[in-house]
């Protein structure tokens, strides 16, 4: 036997249903990323947004929502661009260039991670040898650092009329002392 619901009871059920957390649909990589990212508490009900440059996930928690949101940093964008080059094949420029060197890419990525915030971000260059280089050309600074893929960096730097060039060892753990002093704008 069924009993008809009163208006008040129906309204309560409706409110209870709408108060349930919005089911979240997120991709596994996004969840993995979330663990490493800071979490901000917010009462916003914004839906999951995954765009090219920003990743946001929403998790229900007693009618409040925790949102982890951190835009991709410029360093990360730079690393992403460099890593994409590993997909290129021999003759990527139509003029007989060598395929990008994985070792050189690895070294340059390590180097970018070690860059201080007070050093302006460089422009990456893919050379026909397959090596990757980093390049600055701003104001009085010109710098070109070629990652040779064997634990060495060849460089030429011109800063305010001073010229520096050489080859320096790079172990991917520590920034060679020569660069921050010269490259800092």
């Amino acid at each position: 036997m069924t009993t008809p619901l009163g208006t008040a009871a129906a309204a309560k059920i409706f409110i209870a249903l709408t108060a349930l957390p919005t089911p979240t649909v997120s991709q596994i990589p996004a969840l993995l990323e979330q663990q490493a990212r800071p979490i901000q508490k917010t009462t916003s009900r914004s839906p999951i947004v995954v765009t090219g440059a920003q990743l946001t996930t929403v998790v229900a928690n007693n009618d409040k929502y925790e949102e982890s949101a951190r835009p991709t940093t410029l360093n990360e964008k730079l690393i992403g661009e460099i890593r994409q080059w590993s997909l290129l094949n021999t003759d990527w420029d139509g003029e007989g260039a060598a395929a990008p060197s994985f070792k050189s890419i690895k070294e340059v990525v390590s180097f970018v991670r070690l860059l201080d915030n007070d050093i302006m971000l460089p422009e990456p260059m893919l050379l026909s040898s397959g090596h990757v280089a980093l390049y600055w050309n701003e104001g009085n600074l010109y710098a070109d650092l070629e990652f040779l893929g064997d634990g060495r960096i060849a460089y030429f730097i011109k800063n305010n009329g001073d010229r520096h060039k050489g080859v320096v060892a790079f172990d991917s753990q520590k920034m060679p002392a020569v660069f921050p002093a010269i490259i800092r704008a």
Binding site: G94, M125, S128, G166
Partner: protein, 227 residues
């Protein structure tokens, strides 16, 4: 027939070998056209040219029978930019990486002073037709004598040679290659900077401005539409 062809090939090899021997030991003539042919398409072309004809010896001779003449100091040379990977994101200028072929296979240039519009249109159409990802971003110009006067720090020797490596379908084709005096990796990076400076610090001339747009206007429409 096959035996005759074999004989001719053998004769040709003997002949170029003899010329190379005479040059190497007696400095008699330089078989520049032979050197150009033999090293064509090789990964270490520049090093092989330097070994066979050091100190830019082949600049004095035509390196190809399709070339009108050796490259003169007064000529203007054009480096066509087809690969977006060499464009600086922020400034839109070309990066020094565009010259990195100088150290291996030779950096292709067009001899602006001798090329006709028709030849350049044909060259651009041919190159763009090779891959959908290529687009013509513009041209960098430099004076030949400026390139030939480049030296790296602490060296009295020239750093690059400029040759006329014409092709049948591209008679204005030339090449820049490093000399054997560029030895260490730091010199390579410095030379990249010197070339970048000589070619106007990467300030690219847009296709529609180059030669008053006469090459651009005659480019196939689907190539113009590429970005």
């Amino acid at each position: 027939m096959p035996s005759t062809r074999k004989k001719c090939r053998l004769c040709s090899r003997l002949s170029s070998g003899l010329k190379e021997f005479l040059h190497r030991f007696f400095r008699v003539g330089v078989d520049c056209q032979g050197i150009n042919r033999r090293t064509h398409g090789e990964e270490q072309r520049v090093a092989k040219i330097n070994a066979a004809a050091p100190d830019c010896a082949c600049e004095k001779y035509r390196m190809s029978r399709h070339s009108p003449c050796a490259v003169e100091n007064s000529e203007i040379l054009a480096r066509f930019v087809f690969s977006p990977i060499h464009i600086h994101h922020k400034t839109g200028n070309v990066k020094p990486s565009i010259f990195s072929h100088v150290f291996s296979v030779g950096c292709s240039i067009q001899r602006d002073s001798v090329a006709t519009n028709k030849e350049l249109i044909s060259f651009a159409n041919d190159f763009l037709g090779g891959d959908d990802k290529r687009s013509w971003r513009g041209v960098l110009l430099a004076e030949c004598h400026e390139l030939r006067s480049i030296k790296v720090e602490n060296s009295l020797n020239r750093a690059v040679c400029v040759y006329d490596t014409a092709e049948q379908e591209n008679p204005a084709h030339g090449e820049i290659g490093q000399t054997h005096h560029i030895i260490n990796e730091a010199d390579v990076v410095e030379l990249r900077h010197a070339l970048f400076t000589a070619f106007g610090n990467g300030a690219v001339i847009p296709p529609f401005q180059y030669r008053n747009g006469k090459v651009w206007d005659n480019l196939a429409q689907h190539f113009q539409a590429r970005k």
